[in-house]
């Protein structure tokens, strides 16, 4: 070491390696939530930016004014409550459907040959990288009143007049399951592929039926995959905006859409912030559950 004085001033490599991603994530991911929390206590104002300051400094006095009005509004107006419940309902049933459809698919991929696994995984993964917007848009053409599905059903004589599917909750469910299915399959596959097949052989040697050993061995072993997949679907769907906006109708009430409207159409930033804070509070348990699960995966101690 030729110049030890200068060297001791610089941060050492270890601090730098930890520091850069830590600083970035702190600044652009964690800190913003604190600001959302702050603004949720502000009042909407005709100004730039359109909200009031919550603290003032005058005559050596720091005044902190917390406006609880936004939160009161959320609890009083039935629209918001209905939107939260609607989001949770859609998220819950979509997660269930994704699990029911995705589990057998992940199972089949995990049992396929090594070569086939790579190709099948690619086929599952590819849509997750292609515009959720476009995949939802594709369904608009299929589900509309004079769309392909109705033409097909009328063509084979199953129905006489077109079914109203687009702009209903049914369309939202189709869109959500369609868009989020890969996010259920991938973690399930990652888990199922690690299972030791000799356990199932042993069970079958001992006289267990295929279904019994599946239910008693495979399913409990895949618990982590089920948690990861379900959370990867449930949490984002609660805040989903694109799908209810494009496929849903007047009956569809979801919180992501309401937040978007409060922010962009009504320009009420404080109410939008309060909506986000409450959404985050609802999701905090699933998010912690997912993070614990994922931290174990990342460190490799499954």
């Amino acid at each position: 070491m030729r110049i030890p004085t200068l060297k001791s001033l610089l941060p050492n490599g270890r601090h730098l390696v930890i520091g850069i991603p830590f600083f970035w994530l702190f600044l652009f991911f964690l800190l913003p939530f604190a600001i959302v929390l702050k603004i949720s206590f502000a009042e909407a104002d005709v100004a730039i930016p359109p909200y009031t300051d919550i603290y003032t400094w005058a005559d050596n006095q720091l005044q902190l004014i917390l406006n609880l009005g936004n939160y009161l509004l959320l609890s009083e107006d039935e629209l918001y409550l209905a939107a939260y419940l609607g989001s949770l309902k859609v998220a819950f049933f979509s997660t269930l459907m994704c699990l029911l459809i995705g589990y057998p698919m992940a199972y089949a991929i995990a049992r396929a040959s090594k070569e086939a696994q790579t190709v099948l995984l690619l086929l599952i993964m590819m849509p997750t990288w292609t515009a959720i917007l476009i995949r939802v848009y594709a369904w608009m053409g299929i589900l509309s009143n004079n769309g392909l599905l109705n033409s097909f059903l009328m063509g084979i004589g199953l129905i006489d007049s077109p079914l109203q599917i687009l702009n209903t909750n049914v369309a939202v469910y189709i869109g959500v399951v369609y868009s989020y299915l890969p996010f259920m399959i991938l973690p399930l596959y990652a888990n199922l592929v690690k299972h030791d097949p000799s356990l199932l052989e042993a069970a079958s040697d001992l006289g267990s039926s295929t279904f019994n050993s599946f239910w008693k061995i495979t399913v409990p072993l895949s618990k982590n995959g089920i948690i990861a997949g379900s959370m990867l679907v449930f949490i984002p769907v609660v805040g989903e905006f694109v799908i209810p906006e494009l496929l849903g109708g007047p009956e569809t009430l979801m919180i992501g859409k309401v937040l978007w409207q409060e922010f962009f159409n009504n320009r009420d930033w404080p109410v939008a912030s309060a909506l986000a804070v409450v959404m985050l509070l609802i999701l905090i348990v699933p998010i912690i559950l997912f993070n614990k699960n994922q931290a174990k995966e990342l460190e490799g101690k499954v």
Binding site: I101, L123, M126, T130, Y137, A276, I287, Q294, L298
Partner: protein
């Protein structure tokens, strides 16, 4: 195992469910009829019309630019994060760090978008930056959430790596940075490429984050498509959507192809090295000691 078990049937039905709408979309983008649902013969006129749409073309350019910057930054940031998570077992704030790395994966986009916008507004008031929201703010938003995907992919690879090669290099006197650049990076290169492609595609695709953190005059392609789609299904949009599907599918395919090739080359190289070592050991009386690997 039975060939046509319940799960295999479900797999094929599921894949059909995933791909059929996209195939239909692409077919209908070649529809000559102005009515989207009526088939009027094959035509490429909607594609030709796109080229004259300067507003659309501008947003394509802007989206591509942001996607390239995002891919570079997300790989750098995500790799560092993955390295910290897999190689540095203990430091203060590790739990928080792990949480911050994975949370962007699940956080509803409306929350992330809103909170980032409010951060940028607060920063503009406090330090005067960013004065205008645009490419840079969208890039920051995309990098933050793409880095999480990169971290997942890269840390999976880092965990599989044989630590002994890095240790051998250290024993021979290589500094940590040199080991990282000359040994670790080449070994994780396939996952870096995959992470870059993924970030590129995710950035190109994002609507919600970009809508929040973009300023006037910095419309990205998804924002452009979204405002058109809101008004209903139109043949021009079918053409744009098909082009996006094509681009991303090609990217994914190449990512997979090159990853696989690199992987095979690596395996072959290792095998070859082992064979030469074995031959040398057999021809001389030396034992293949670890010092000989260099």
């Amino acid at each position: 195992m039975k060939r046509f078990s319940f799960s295999t049937v479900m797999l094929w039905v599921g894949l059909l469910f995933i791909y059929l709408p996209m195939v239909i979309l692409v077919i209908y983008s070649f529809n000559a009829s102005k009515l989207v649902t009526v088939w009027g013969g094959w035509s490429v006129k909607w594609y030709v019309g796109l080229l004259d749409n300067t507003q659309l073309m501008n947003s394509v350019g802007r989206s591509l630019e942001i996607a390239v910057y995002t891919a570079i930054a997300a790989v750098a940031l995500g790799t560092l994060a993955a390295f910290v998570l897999t190689r540095i077992p203990r430091f203060r704030g590790r739990t928080m760090f792990g949480g911050m790395v994975t949370a962007p994966l699940v956080m509803p986009e409306v929350i992330t978008g809103l909170s980032l916008l409010l951060l940028f507004v607060a920063m503009a008031q406090l330090i005067g930056w960013p004065q205008e929201r645009g490419i840079v703010t969208i890039w920051i938003a995309h990098t933050t959430f793409c880095a999480a995907y990169v971290a997942i992919v890269v840390s999976a690879r880092l965990r599989e790596l044989d630590l002994s090669i890095e240790e051998a290099a250290m024993d021979l006197g290589a500094r940590p940075w040199k080991v990282f650049l000359l040994i670790t990076i080449p070994m994780i290169a396939p996952s870096l490429a995959a992470g870059a492609m993924m970030s590129f595609a995710l950035s190109l695709d994002d609507l919600v984050l970009a809508s929040f953190v973009s300023g006037p005059g910095s419309t990205t392609l998804p924002m452009e498509v979204f405002s058109a789609v809101r008004l209903g299904v139109k043949p021009e949009i079918n053409a744009v959507a098909s082009l996006i599907l094509l681009t991303v599918s090609l990217f994914t395919f190449f990512a997979w192809f090159f990853t696989r090739q690199a992987e095979e080359r690596r395996k072959r190289a290792i095998q070859q090295a082992m064979e030469t070592m074995a031959e040398e050991a057999a021809s001389s009386n030396w034992k293949p000691a670890s010092t000989q690997t260099a």
